[in-house]
């Protein structure tokens, strides 16, 4: 019995030692034969700028890589993880997928996502990752390995209506820098114009947790530490209480969270904290109606802000070495300077490569025409990775946390007690 076990162990060790990177067979150096790979993408499931830009990116890639055919599967962002999972179950192995950061740990631990370090040789990986800003690379890492390569992502930015600032007797050239400033400005707007003062895109059904986590982390809080939930701990809870205090003073609006962006776009709100992905759409609505401006996200006093990221990363699931090579080539192109020039200028997401911003052949001309975008770029040196939850119940934990945040901000009970109760209950669902 013992002998058989030792033999099995030796055989396994021998087999794994033959493979160059972990459990992966070596990818061919190039794509020599025609290969078709699937690309699950949520931008293609929309009719907005994201779809057109993605089609352009894929056409460019196929032109550069004539042996690779990309079969696109368009799925809305809130459904795409379920589709990838359903296809894995159905035996239709996905190759590349654009998935959101909230699913990061699940993708790495349960869904069979490939770590780039296991799939690509260190030298080749280093060559591609050179030029990408290091904090951007951290976004897709789990236990030190890169499962997702940040693709379309952004950080929260403060949109403000300069006309409402003027009407409320505020200086639009001096936007709020701290949450105390937001509370004063929000209250003035509410009292003098009867419009809504401030609202963060943090509580809606499709908002995820990035705005909320940015606020919490800017106050030195965290939603979890390892497997221990900490969203009700001192700094995190105080950040939520700041929002609650603003609700009580009238500075923070009490509106349907799903309608916040429309309320701002309609000119009925003074300040709105949300991703720059919305910039193009808000600009069109504001054109000729009100003076739209942007400012960095507010801070808690002197504490530096810790903006975290919205958006998506690219993940590779291919098991076949030839498809892995084709998938990696797609990943490389989609995170190249050329691709980021298209992604930033045509959709509005942040470039993963900052050296292209002032390059006259890349984003240079666009960056000059869109000075508002600089506010978001300035925040990147403080970019803090969004924290995904571990374990099979991660979505439930996230929901319980956000439900309690909504209750703490808009409810009538003690906000800290509300968060604590939810944290205790949700802790049971953590691994």
């Amino acid at each position: 019995m013992l002998r058989r076990t030792i033999l099995k162990l030796m055989a396994t060790l021998a087999a794994t030692s033959l493979l160059p990177f972990g459990a992966f067979a070596e990818m061919p150096k190039t794509v020599d034969k025609p290969v078709t790979i699937t690309f699950y993408n949520y931008n293609l499931a929309s009719a907005g700028a994201g779809s057109e830009a993605t089609k352009e990116l894929i056409a460019n890639f196929e032109k550069k890589n004539p042996n690779v055919k990309v079969e696109t599967i368009a799925v809305p962002s809130n459904e795409i993880i379920n589709r990838v999972q359903a296809d894995v179950v159905a035996g239709k192995q996905p190759d590349v997928a654009q998935l959101t950061f909230r699913d990061l740990i699940f993708i790495a631990s349960d869904l069979g996502g490939n770590a780039l370090e296991d799939m690509v040789s260190p030298a080749e990986l280093k060559e591609h990752l050179t030029g990408i800003f290091p904090k951007g690379l951290e976004l897709g890492k789990v236990d030190g390995k890169t499962y997702g390569l940040a693709y379309t992502f952004s950080t929260p930015i403060l949109y403000y209506n300069a006309d409402l600032f003027k009407a409320a007797g505020l200086d639009p050239n001096n936007p709020p820098k701290t949450w105390a400033d937001v509370a004063i400005a929000g209250k003035a707007i509410k009292e003098k114009t009867s419009k809504n003062g401030f609202f963060p895109g943090a509580y809606g059904p499709t908002d995820g947790t990035f705005v909320y986590q940015s606020i919490v982390m800017s106050n030195g809080g965290k939603v979890r530490e390892g497997d221990k939930l900490t969203f009700a701990d001192k700094n995190a809870a105080e950040a939520v209480k700041t929002m609650r205090d603003m609700v009580q003073s009238g500075a923070h609006a009490k509106i349907d969270p799903a309608s916040a962006s429309d309320t701002f776009s309609a000119g009925n709100m003074g300040m709105f904290l949300y991703t720059t992905a919305l910039l193009s759409s808000v600009k069109k609505s504001a054109a000729g109606k009100f003076d739209l401006r942007l400012a960095p996200m507010p801070s808690f006093g002197e504490k530096p802000t810790a903006p975290t990221n919205s958006g998506s990363a690219l993940f590779v699931f291919s098991k076949d070495p030839a498809k892995q090579r084709a998938s990696y080539e797609l990943l490389k192109y989609l995170t190249s300077p050329d691709a980021y020039t298209i992604i930033t200028s045509k959709i509005g997401y942040l470039p993963l490569r900052l050296d292209i911003v002032d390059d006259p052949n890349q984003l240079g001309p666009w960056a000059k025409e869109n000075p508002m975008f600089r506010s978001n770029l300035e925040q990147l040196n403080r970019l803090t990775p969004n924290m995904a939850f571990p374990g099979p119940n991660y979505r439930q934990v996230e929901k319980m946390m956000m439900d309690s945040v909504r209750e703490a901000v808009f409810g009538s009970g003690d906000p800290i007690a509300t968060l604590k109760t939810a944290q205790e209950q949700a802790q049971d669902l953590m691994p």
């Binding site: 779809s51 799925v75 459904e79 309609a266 000729g288």
Partner: protein, 288 residues
Amino acid sequence: MTIDTSHDHQPLASLTAETGGKTRRIAVHVVMIVLSVLSIFPIYWMIVTSLRPENEIFSTAMWPANPTLDNYVFVLTRIPMLQMLFNTTVVAATTAGLQVVTGLFAAYALVRWKMRLSGVIHGLIALSWLVPFQVTMIPNYVLASKLGLLDTLTGLILPNASHAFAVLLLYHAMRSFPTEILEAARIDGAKSWKILWQIVAPNMGAPIASLSIIAFISAWNEYFWPLLLSRKPENSVVQIGLQMFMTQEGNLWGPLMAAAALASLPILIIYLVLQRHVIESFMKSGIR
């Protein structure tokens, strides 16, 4: 001398009754007019919003200052809207047709042949109606994938080709069909196939029309199954098309309203042409 006032009283009473009736009629009309305006206003607002330029989308004016057809052009050029409308028509019409046929077969079998387990089978069919589609969605998806039906219209139609509601509606309608006629036909040598298609079905016009209309509208509005099964917009249906205007980069309200106006046109036409049948269908079968 007595004065007969009865002649005077009569017209007065009838006048009062007439006035009361008139007031009631006016009140009923006022209520109906208010309800009609409330029902029609969202459709009016959808059409008006579809004609607004982007910077007027959030305007509350009853008519756009600069009406434009740009949103319709955007819809027709950005997504394969006409192909989606065609796909939806094919899926809805075929689904409705198949539900009628499978419903007729099952109802005829349950009514015509009294088996020992008829009650159990009837109960099981009724129970299957209570199972939410989301529960069977993933097993259905895996099966559709194995059968090579992903991203096909056949895949969208097949799981809905029979429905407990169709069977139960036709079963109850068929139960009231006179058995004497069926017996007479059988004595005359007619087989079940002939009895079903030449005697029963032609006399069940009303329930079949009701079922067809409800099944068509239900299939037209289907969202979850096409969302899971479709892989490309051109192979999908119009409800998925509508969702495409709610993007990560903001909701495109103008194009969304234009697409919704286009998507609701066929259903509106059905209502206008078959108004009486549609209302009767919903009244008889309960709101679905």
